[in-house]
């Protein structure tokens, strides 16, 4: 129970920090984003007082209200779900843009991360179990792949599998001409077909980290005394590998999820740009290109919330699978 409480307190603190950061950045930066946004909005259509108030609350204004009062207005705006109006997708509100793009990103990154984690852990387990075997020699190769920038790998794959041998489509999330979005088979097929290459990019560039981490932990765990005991008891190698060694070796990989997830999310934002995938990364870039500060702040907030949420889930899971964490706190 205490473990749970500690974790929850930490994530509340992290959430508060993220919200405050989101509040402070536009106010501390040079220039006047509000005027820029409002003038851009005005060129696209009439700006209602509500929109103006929302944008002022999010980005800060020259009004003489104190920073505290602005902070409360900002929090109030967030709670009511009003994140302002987007310029890039005018006249849609920011929350709606995020609502439309988020499922694409969560689907793509979520699936790719799970595949990469599972395959990486299995390969790492095999490599650590048989050190010096061919699979262990794969490690330097995957490390090399890991230091390849996501977007460059994406460019390369796009060039080879999109242009030279047209196996996969060049961009987009589904075929906009022939299928209609919804719960139907052609749409699902189209989504999988379009998502394969971006997902492959993320898997290839992130698998090395999981594999290496798992391999090193397997090696360390193998030299523990309880493994020797298990061997002496005459347990089958298979049982030792999966129940005794791998089970302990996987723990740091799971607790290291936080660091890697941030990395994967960062990489896939840029990957989305290459594939013009209709996800939140593309929305962020479009926002950057159009000085759409409201959308930028909103996207940053959502990405942070998603990463925090995923980490909270992993932490809770960790408490279940590793009883020591509960005992220690």
């Amino acid at each position: 129970m205490r473990y749970l409480l500690r974790k929850l307190v930490f994530y509340v603190a992290a959430l508060w920090a993220a919200l405050t950061l989101n509040f402070l950045i536009p106010r501390l930066m040079p220039g006047n984003p509000v005027d820029l946004m409002l003038s851009k909005l005005a060129t696209k259509g009439p700006v209602t007082p509500t929109t103006r108030a929302a944008i002022e609350a999010l980005l800060g204004t020259d009004t003489h209200s104190s920073l505290w009062a602005q902070y409360w207005t900002y929090l109030h705006q967030l709670v009511s779900g009003n994140l302002g109006t987007s310029i890039a997708y005018f006249p849609e509100p920011v929350s709606q843009v995020i609502g439309q793009t988020l499922p694409w990103t969560v689907g793509l990154i979520g699936l790719a991360t799970v595949i990469s984690f599972a395959v990486g852990i299995l390969l790492g387990r095999a490599a650590g179990w048989r050190r010096g075997s061919w699979i262990d020699n794969l490690i330097p190769v995957t490390t090399m792949l890991q230091s390849v920038p996501y977007f460059w790998l994406a460019l390369l794959l796009l060039f080879l599998l999109g242009s030279t041998w047209p196996v996969f489509p060049l961009n987009g999330g589904y075929d906009v001409y022939s299928v209609t979005p919804g719960w139907n088979l052609p749409f699902a097929q189209s989504v999988v077909y379009h998502g394969a290459l971006p997902a492959l990019t993320i898997v290839i560039s992130s698998i090395g980290g999981w594999m290496l981490g798992m391999r090193n932990m397997m090696v360390s765990t193998l030299s523990e005394d309880f493994v020797v005991t298990a061997e002496a008891k005459g347990l089958t190698p298979r049982r030792i590998r999966s129940r005794y060694v791998a089970r302990n070796a996987i723990l740091p990989s799971i607790s290291g999820f936080a660091i890697s997830l941030g990395f994967v999310v960062a990489g896939s934002i840029v990957t989305e740009a290459v594939f013009t995938y209709p996800g939140i990364g593309s929305a962020l870039l479009l926002a950057v290109g159009n000085n759409d500060y409201a959308l930028m702040q909103g996207v940053f907030l959502i990405i942070t919330l998603a990463v925090l949420g995923a980490n909270l889930l992993v932490d809770l899971l960790y408490g279940v699978i590793d009883p020591r964490t509960r005992a220690r706190s």
Binding site: R131, S147, V148, V219, L222, S223, A258, F263, I269
Partner: protein, 281 residues
């Protein structure tokens, strides 16, 4: 000196020398020629861009730019992570709690979106600003690693002995504890350099890098915008990415070797070999 270390140092060395000396030997990378997009050959080692700029010259300057970013961010990250990781763990008490909370919060806030956000507010960025922003968003991981290790060193008997014998606190920190942390610090710096170069490349690729600078990322940005991909101009978009990958791989190899020095268990050795050894002794 293992093979890994030799290969890593070799590749990294070649790239560093290229970045330092290269720009002195090639012409101006921005010179526009009336050539258009030409492949390698005809006096241009790596061909030319759409506007007839020498890709090889650009690569030389870009290498220098990216290395500068890597070194600056590596140094800043070292400072920040040592401060928050080592000092916090050494002082202990509420300072450690506070530092550790701050570190963990910085760790779960995704870095690149934050960097994108900050850099989109500043229209004309210097290379130093980009480096500072990258360092601010990337020190937390190594601070946590350093904290864990410092805690374990701090509670060792010889540190206790030093404390009882009345050594000053700063002396315990710098003379007794810090030398033990050097391999770990080295590997964290190497990691920070890789992270910085990758991060800067991503940022520049999105058009948010330092203005007027030449880095591997800006080269890729111009290649992408010049439709190098559609035109099949591999000599334009392949070299910068390959340079990043090679440099990153070389640094990882160096890091592996450092890891193996710290933790001899990781040294390559099959299970059969180890069992044989333990029976013999």
């Amino acid at each position: 000196m293992t093979l890994k270390l030799a290969v890593g140092l070799g590749i990294a060395g070649i790239i560093v020398v290229f970045g330092v000396v290269g720009p002195l030997l090639v012409g101006n990378p921005s010179t526009v020629r009336d050539l258009g997009l030409t492949g390698p050959g005809n006096g241009f080692l790596l061909g030319t861009t759409q506007t007839g700029q020498d890709v090889f010259a650009q690569l030389a300057y870009a290498t220098r730019g990216s290395l500068i970013i890597g070194v600056v961010v590596g140094a800043l990250t070292l400072l920040l992570s040592s401060f928050f990781g080592i000092v916090g763990a050494f002082v202990g008490g509420w300072a450690d709690e506070a530092f550790s909370l701050f570190t963990n919060i910085m760790l779960v806030i995704p870095g690149l979106p934050l960097v994108i956000l900050i850099s989109s507010y500043v229209p004309n960025k210097s290379i130093w600003l980009v480096a500072a922003v990258l360092a601010i968003t990337s020190w937390a991981g190594s601070a946590r690693v350093l904290r864990g290790f410092t805690l374990s060193v701090r509670s060792r008997d010889y540190v206790l002995a030093a404390r009882i014998s009345g050594e000053k606190r700063w002396r315990i920190l710098f003379v007794e504890i810090l030398p033990n942390l050097i391999p770990l610090l080295a590997s964290q710096v190497v990691f920070a350099v890789i992270f910085a170069i990758l991060g800067e490349a991503g940022l520049s690729f999105l058009g948010l890098g330092a203005s007027g600078s030449f880095t591997w990322g800006t080269m890729l940005f111009y290649a992408q915008n010049g439709l190098a991909l559609r035109l099949g101009a591999w000599w334009w978009f392949a070299p910068p990415g390959l340079a990043i990958a090679l440099f990153g791989a070389a640094l990882s190899l160096i890091n592996f070797s450092i890891d193996e020095i710290i933790n001899p268990k990781l040294r390559s050795q099959t299970r059969a070999e180890r069992n044989k050894w333990s029976v013999k002794s």
